[in-house]
């Protein structure tokens, strides 16, 4: 079973590498779309159908937004990266961070054995409480829905606030009146 996750993750990583390194801006956006749909598949196989549906919807919208940003501006090739030396330094720094950071995963629970199931049976964790009492207390058969809409409804309210604030910012940035000629 984990072979599937390896294959999908490698697919996402390859798509991300092509998106980072290709010259054409539009094709790198398309590669991001491929990575996003691969992520949706991996969510589906990780038994998270709600996340998979949301990821597909968000991915389609994000592709539309990104293609709108790049479609007629594709001529703007930017030759090369920054100086060769700084690229080398960045790659080395990122690799060192990666090698140091992988040690963190020793403290994680093993793959396939989530933390709430490993702990002692008597201890009442939040996930266990939601799973055993969620249907009784909220009446929702989908535990994820009962968590985001009942137990953590304020969290969802904050999410809606953040979403509408960012859309407000985008609207303010893109309105017509902002096109005032500034002589520079």
């Amino acid at each position: 079973m984990p072979i599937l996750f390896y294959v999908l993750l490698l697919f996402i990583i390859i798509a991300a590498l092509i998106a980072v390194e290709t010259q054409n801006l539009l094709s790198s956006v398309i590669c991001i779309g491929a990575a996003g749909f691969g992520g949706s598949l991996i969510f589906l196989f990780l038994k998270a159908p709600d996340i998979a549906i949301t990821q597909i919807t968000v991915e389609v919208l994000a592709l539309i937004i990104l293609i709108r940003a790049t479609i007629s501006r594709d001529k703007t090739f930017i030759s090369g990266d920054r100086e060769f030396f700084s690229v080398i330094v960045s790659v080395v720094v990122v690799l060192v961070l990666f090698l140091i950071g992988t040690r963190v995963f020793d403290t994680f629970p093993k793959f396939g054995e989530p933390a709430f199931a490993v702990e002692t049976k008597t201890e009442q964790t939040a996930s266990k409480h939601y799973l055993t009492n969620g249907l009784k207390e909220t009446g929702a058969a989908n535990i994820v829905a009962s968590v985001i809409l009942d137990y953590r409804a304020y969290d969802t309210l904050g999410e809606a606030t953040v979403l509408f604030t960012s859309i407000l910012g985008a609207t303010v940035l893109l309105r017509k009146q902002a096109k005032i000629k500034v002589q520079t």
């Binding site: 038994k47 396939g112 009784k136 994820v144």
Partner: protein
Amino acid sequence: MLYALCFLLFMIGLYCALVKKNMVRIVLGIVIMEYAVNILLIMIGFRIGGEAPILSPPQGLPLKTSLQSVDPLPQALVLTAIVISLGSLALMVSICIRTYQRYGTFDITQIRRLRG
């Protein structure tokens, strides 16, 4: 090992956001980092042979013993994070579009007249 692959994906996004000169590439790097973090969080809650956290409705009894499901809490929080990432992506892309209209380029080394 799967966690390390997720972290590698995160590092690819970080490299893209740090090194590239194109504004849209930087946005794409941030998007890649969001994917990596979401997949890692869902993976932590995964259980081999587990079921999706959806119970069988009317009887009021769980589908199986409740501990055979995957962890529902990271899923709920990642659901929030995905929607927020769409909002922040829209904001970043609108900044990119407006900058392009003003300066005619996405190259961040060419944009030297930022005045706030």
